[in-house]
């Protein structure tokens, strides 16, 4: 089958559209994860998703619903929590990460939740998206774009020098927590699109590549978005052509771009 024949099929159309939208927008939050040192937090959120998945199953719902709820809750709580206790986000991340994985295992045992069903969360696929998933991806993408459009200078200030931002009167804390929340939602979307183990391919790697090649925030954002689309849509098409697993192919394309960027030194 050629690519054009594939793209006649609704499932592939939906997947392709989701790849373009998610790749172009979710990747814009990679720079947030790097700038605000959220690398540990994103791990914590993934582990909380696992706990959420277990709770979801125990309550008779689906693992994904539970996982999404946990991520939303986690990303809303982690920022303010770390400020209240004056702990850095790394420690808070580690606390939640270890704690939630332990709780999840207790739940597996006590509630008789089949662990394998929950671990299924780690292998999402863009081909399994339904129409409402696609709307969720488009909605989130819109919110991300709008946030950057309305708050570009404020976000630039928060990344460049949070102390300056605060004294100039920029609501730095609220912006940080808002971005963390969006990053959490994006992790949820990425789990569905590429699976939890490969979320970095969609969120972090395009931004890391862009940051190696850019001279300013605007360039980082434009390049992240382009690379995100190229990674997600390109990976999807290649996986169809060569009959390879989509999540892994998307990831390989992203890693390939990062590798290429390493050949250029600014």
């Amino acid at each position: 089958m050629s690519i054009w024949e594939y793209l006649q099929i609704p499932v592939f159309q939906r997947a392709f559209l989701a790849a373009v939208v998610a790749g172009g927008t979710v990747s814009l939050l990679g720079v947030v994860i790097v700038m605000l040192n959220l690398t540990t937090i994103r791990f914590a959120l993934m582990h909380m998703a696992l706990l959420g998945g277990a709770v979801g199953l125990a309550l008779g719902s689906t693992p994904l619903a539970g996982a999404t709820a946990a991520i939303v809750l986690g990303s809303l709580l982690l920022g303010p929590f770390s400020e209240r206790l004056r702990l850095d986000t790394g420690i808070i991340g580690a606390f939640f990460m270890t704690g939630s994985i332990a709780l999840a295992f207790v739940l597996f045992y006590k509630a008789g939740v089949p662990a394998l069903d929950v671990f299924g969360l780690f292998t999402g696929s863009i081909l399994s998206l339904n129409q409402s998933d696609l709307w969720a991806v488009i909605g989130l993408g819109g919110v991300i774009l709008l946030s950057y459009m309305c708050l570009f200078r404020e976000i630039q200030l928060v990344f460049y020098d949070p102390e300056q931002a605060e004294w100039l009167g920029v609501p730095a804390r609220r912006i940080k927590n808002g971005l963390l929340f969006l990053a959490g939602l994006s992790i949820g979307v990425a789990m569905k699109v590429v699976g939890a183990l490969l979320i970095d391919a969609l969120i972090l790697i395009p931004a890391m590549t862009a940051m190696r090649l850019s001279r300013g925030l605007l360039q980082i954002l434009l390049l992240s978005s382009l690379l995100g689309v190229a990674t997600a849509a390109g990976g999807l098409l290649i996986s169809m052509l060569l009959d390879m697993p989509t999540g892994a192919t998307i990831t390989l394309v992203g890693v390939g771009f990062l590798g290429l960027s390493m050949l250029f030194r600014r």
């Binding site: 990344f159 460049y160 102390e163 300056q164 004294w167 920029v170 850019s214 300013g216 925030l217 360039q219």
Partner: protein
């Protein structure tokens, strides 16, 4: 609101000011007054409350006791705080080597935030003109497209000063301006501060732990100890 400025008017006065973080009180019954055009250095050990004092003046602390007047206006509400911040340029104690790539020009122009651009309002031609002018003043015109991360400590401090000046402030707050500088850059900085002070008759408040440098630059030096000002110990002509 129009504030009538008189040559002898106090630029800044604090009386009985107490402030801190949560239950921890860092400043207690602190009183201080600075005349317009004066350069005052505040000396103190680490933890004496120097930075907290600046944060109180800028209305960046949750509960502040006592009275703070800036340029004749009593600072009581968040609106007053925003007004103060629009009149004050703040030069932080920072090496400025963040992770974000940003050009010298952009880093300076961001100082105009809240003054003319914010949120959906984009920077204007005047913001760019002022930025160019301040880059000239601090001698960074040639480096305007350079990434801030590749600058030396002295150059970063000049970016910080340009970013404070681009707000067209009446008062300049300097937080340990010489911390990361070698002797040569310190001299350049002293000249620069002297020059801009005369040019715009700025009132300057500088906190430092470097007594020698403070005496060199300031008209008056006071000490901050245990959250209070001890004045009159060292008057510099």
């Amino acid at each position: 609101m129009v504030i009538q400025m008189d040559r002898n008017l106090e630029a800044l006065s604090l009386s009985g000011v107490g402030a801190g973080y949560g239950k921890e009180r860092v400043l207690s019954s602190l009183s201080l007054s600075v005349k317009k055009g004066e350069c005052l250095a505040i000396l103190g050990e680490n933890g004496a409350g120097k930075t907290t004092l600046f944060r109180a003046i800028l209305y960046l602390l949750p509960d502040i006791a006592g009275t703070i007047r800036v340029l004749g206006r009593t600072v009581k509400t968040p609106e007053d705080g925003a007004w103060v911040r629009s009149q004050v340029g703040y030069v932080p104690q920072s090496q400025g080597k963040g992770k974000l790539p940003i050009s010298v020009f952009d880093a300076v122009m961001l100082g105009r935030w809240g003054k003319s651009f914010a949120y959906l309002r984009r920077p204007t031609a005047r913001d760019r003109e002022l930025t160019e002018a301040m880059l000239d003043v601090v001698g960074l015109q040639d480096l305007r497209f350079r990434d801030c991360r590749s600058l030396s400590g002295g150059q970063i401090q000049r970016v910080n000063i340009a970013r404070a000046l681009v707000r067209e402030p009446l008062i300049l707050l300097l937080d340990e301006p010489t911390t990361y500088l070698d002797a040569a850059s310190r001299d350049v900085l002293t000249q620069l501060i002297d020059q801009v002070r005369k040019k715009w008759s700025l009132t300057i408040l500088m906190i430092s732990h470097d007594g020698e440098y403070a005496r060199q630059l300031a008209d008056r030096v006071v000490h901050l100890r245990r959250g209070r000002i001890e004045e009159g110990l060292e008057a510099v002509s």
